[in-house]
């Protein structure tokens, strides 16, 4: 991989963070925003969520803090954060106590939310093309979307992985240009758990989240 291609990937990563923010942001609480068709199929779930998020991102009139709150609601309604936290920690999840599992989930969710909410103001009019759904048995599905850049640049491939929980489809992972969020966190967390242990991991996670929260508060 050349330095140029690395630079391109990192640059696209920054854009992808924004794209993911759009994805994470627009899935408001089901009781307020969703029709009964919401739970019918994975594409409806993603489409509704993303379109609602884009609406919030485009809304320059509402104060930032309110928009972030809306996005937070959207995210919590659509993403299975408990499962994401569990999966991100990998097999180490079984090695920590139930109290630590709860602590880790809370810290992880706060970290993820604040990471992407901090990008809300970076939105530059990107649009989303909903491409296709592929299923993997009755319980799993993947929805492929493209984030279309306004200046004719290459689109960013943003795919949502969903699992059916009862009558509802929940997002448990997102891939940005083929990079899985969960796989990457699992690699990083695995390294810290193996080398330094849970105390360091939770301490680092809390520190980073606190820094992000402070940055959000100062916006």
């Amino acid at each position: 991989m050349t330095p140029t291609s690395i630079q391109r990937i990192l640059s696209r990563r920054a854009i992808a963070m924004l794209a993911l923010t759009a994805a994470l942001v627009v899935s408001l609480a089901p009781s307020r925003f969703l029709s009964p068709a919401w739970a019918d199929d994975p594409m409806s779930v993603v489409k509704t969520t993303v379109n609602q998020a884009l609406e919030v991102l485009r809304d320059n009139q509402t104060p930032l803090a309110q928009r972030q709150d809306k996005l937070r609601q959207i995210v919590s309604a659509t993403f299975d954060f408990t499962e994401m936290a569990k999966s991100a920690l990998g097999y180490h999840w079984k090695q920590i106590t139930p109290d630590q599992q709860q602590e880790f989930t809370k810290a992880f969710v706060a970290f993820i939310e604040d990471s992407y909410l901090s990008k809300v103001n970076d939105y530059r009019g990107q649009k989303v093309a909903f491409l296709r759904v592929t299923t993997d048995g009755p319980q799993y599905a993947e929805v492929n979307t493209d984030i279309v850049e306004p200046e004719g640049k290459d689109p960013i491939h943003l795919n949502y992985r969903l699992v059916q929980e009862g009558a509802t489809w929940k997002i448990y992972d997102v891939t940005v240009d083929a990079i899985s969020i969960i796989a990457n966190y699992r690699n990083q967390f695995n390294r810290v758990m193996n080398n330094q242990g849970y105390a360091t991991l939770i301490s680092d996670l809390k520190s980073k989240q606190a820094a992000l929260a402070a940055s959000l508060a100062n916006h």
Binding site: K86, G137, E142, R186
Partner: protein, 120 residues
């Protein structure tokens, strides 16, 4: 990837790639895993490179599931070769040694750099 490439867990070889093909227009990799190695249903299989232009290998990251895969099962979650760690130079040590094979498992991923889901 090619047959004979390593399967690694935490940098240690635990098996080898035995076959690569296409199924439903997605890459399907058959793996032979060493005796005594348990891989759970939430494991993630990722194609990685040993060094910037080195050989490809399959890295397994174990998940939190209590369900252990059996012979012929498939790793559902996959990750393409283009992982973030590669992009920022955080390469994973690929040293290790392997043993005799006993079990066959497989994982699917889309063609090119796009990760896909695998089948049970």
């Amino acid at each position: 990837m090619k047959p004979g490439d390593q399967i690694q867990l935490d940098g240690v070889q635990i098996g080898k790639v035995v076959q690569i093909g296409l199924k439903d227009m997605r890459a399907r990799v058959a793996m032979r895993i060493d005796d005594g190695v348990e891989i759970d249903a939430d494991a993630i299989a990722a194609v990685k490179t040993s060094g910037i232009i080195g050989d490809k290998y399959m890295s397994i990251a174990l998940g939190p599931s209590d369900r252990i895969l059996k012979d012929g099962d498939t790793i559902r979650q996959t990750q393409s070769a283009c992982v973030l760690e590669d992009a920022i130079g955080q390469l994973i040590n690929n040293s290790g040694s392997g043993g005799d094979s006993a079990k066959d498992k497989s994982s699917n991923s889309d063609k090119g750099q796009k990760p896909g889901k695998s089948e049970k």
